[in-house]
């Protein structure tokens, strides 16, 4: 295999020096403020989710656990609707991972892609690009679930 030339050490030194200057010039992102926003926004999303769970449990007369699936569907619907109305990105700009980590973020990643690429048509656009961002979430979600499942099954055998 051909080894890519990484430049002379003097060049590398200059780059390292520059990177240090850059890091200083950029300043730090407002981590505390972002965290506070994410914490409260995420809390509100969960509060809404809990209310919806209680509603479905009462409305369909099922256990709270069984009410989980329709709750997820409702939250996805809300996330998708807010994306379609063009509000979600404005909320996420401040709330960050507070709305990104819950299933609302998953809905946004799918719907925003589907919306974005509808001009490329149903087949090459919406159909194939819809999972451009959400694809990774699904793939790694399934892989993680599989690994956890195997570990759990093996643990079951021995414990």
């Amino acid at each position: 295999m051909v080894k890519v030339r990484q430049g002379t050490s003097a060049e590398q030194k200059q780059r390292d020096l520059y990177k240090r200057i850059v890091t200083k010039a950029e300043g730090k992102p407002p981590r505390l403020r972002n965290a506070a926003w994410a914490f409260f926004a995420g809390g509100i999303v969960c509060l809404i989710g809990q209310a919806i769970t209680d509603f479905w449990a009462w409305f369909m007369d099922v256990s709270t656990q069984q009410a989980g699936d329709p709750t997820v569907a409702t939250m996805i619907f809300i996330g998708a609707l807010l994306t379609g109305l063009g509000v979600f990105d404005n909320i996420a700009r401040r709330a960050g991972m507070g709305v990104g980590v819950p299933v609302t973020g998953f809905a946004n990643s799918m719907v925003s892609s589907a919306l974005e690429f509808k001009r490329e048509g149903l087949v090459y656009g919406v159909g194939s690009r819809m999972f451009q961002l959400a694809g990774s979430i699904i793939v790694f979600g399934v892989v993680t679930a599989f690994v956890v499942g195997v570990v759990a099954a093996v643990a079951d055998l021995f414990l």
């Binding site: 200057i21 300043g27 700009r93 974005e116 961002l133």
Partner: protein, 338 residues
């Protein structure tokens, strides 16, 4: 050495071409910016009556060309220009090629990312000074949403931008260069080298481009044996706040003091306090609308007599940064003097 060359990277134009007309068009957010009143035409929304952002970008470039031709008093269909030089940020520079179609004049497509304005002026000025053209139309532009969807995320995707991220300007600018007429003259050109200082974060374009800008400025001053204060204004294309700060620092290392006569289009184009643009503006349209809309008008008003325009470009694609490569950058300097 070639007769018109100066130093290592500079060209001295023997009969300096004139900028006889320019046009600038800008999107709604730019219209609300500090230079909003300067643009020739602004649009109330980002779609500009089109079905896609890409088509909107194209319409902007065509409108800018029409305005530039009108201001230069060039009529006719096809217009009486020898070349149309244009570039943009879309894949395969489609905004430019599709704009060239209705113009119906010989076309050379350029790609220099956000440095395209300087690149097109350089090529255009050399064509005229070389005696290969009487009049050349140069144009470039960018559209925030069209760039977002190509380089970053779907436009409705909710995420947080880094504090040093920049906002792609929606707008386009066009200029008509001519051998004869009236207007400011392009006297010198310093063509930049591609530079990589190890920055690989695609949101960190200001930091990636600052070394290229300073390299070109320093080379220009050395080649022309001019001092910084020869110019009333040295303006970089789209380094924005972080990049501008770094540029001043890098210049100081080369014993160049960039004082108040050094500005950046990315900083000028938006109001950082009122507009949520983080570090500032970027994109081909950034230097284009600030130059065509504001700086050339300042020259006409007599506020600026000697301008060094240094457009800066980050030459990467989504593929290269996803494959972990650094962001190579470039800067082209164009000296415009009354």
């Amino acid at each position: 050495m070639a007769r018109k060359r100066l130093g290592v990277q500079t060209v001295r134009l023997e009969s300096p071409p004139l900028i006889i007309g320019s046009g600038s068009v800008a999107g709604p957010m730019e219209a609300k910016g500090p230079l909003g009143h300067e643009y020739d035409q602004t649009y109330p929304d980002l779609m500009i009556g089109q079905k896609s952002f890409e088509k909107a970008e194209r319409v902007m470039m065509q409108d800018a060309c029409k305005l530039a031709l009108k201001h230069a008093r060039i009529a006719g269909n096809p217009p009486e220009v020898d070349y149309f030089l244009a570039g943009d940020l879309m894949n395969q520079i489609t905004s430019s090629t599709f704009s060239a179609l209705p113009l119906g004049v010989p076309f050379l497509g350029l790609y220099g990312a956000c440095s395209t304005l300087g690149e097109s002026l350089s090529v255009g000025a050399m064509l005229i000074d070389g005696g290969y053209a009487d009049r050349v139309l140069c144009a470039t532009g960018s559209h925030n949403k069209a760039s977002e969807r190509q380089y970053r995320y779907p436009t409705e995707y909710g995420g947080q931008r880094k504090p040093y991220a920049q906002w792609t300007v929606t707008g386009a600018g066009a200029l008509v260069l001519a051998a004869e007429g009236s207007g400011p003259r392009i006297t010198h050109l310093t063509t930049g080298k591609v530079i990589d200082m190890g920055i690989s974060d695609p949101f960190d374009q200001g930091a990636a481009m600052a070394p290229a800008a300073i390299d070109t400025i320093a080379t220009h001053l050395k080649d022309t044996e001019r001092a910084v204060d020869y110019y009333d204004l040295i303006v970089t294309g789209d380094l924005a706040r972080v990049g501008q700060k770094l540029a001043i620092q890098l210049a100081a290392e080369q014993n160049l003091t960039l004082g108040p006569q050094y500005k950046d289009c990315g900083v000028l184009v938006f109001d950082n306090k009122r507009q949520d643009v983080h570090a500032g503006g970027s994109g081909c349209g950034c230097s284009a609308i600030v130059t065509c809309g504001h700086l050339l008008k300042e020259m006409a008003r007599g506020q600026i007599r000697k301008l060094l325009l240094v457009t800066t470009g980050a030459l990467f694609s989504p593929t290269t940064f996803q494959q972990g490569e650094n962001i190579p950058t470039i800067a082209h300097a164009v000296a415009i003097e009354v």
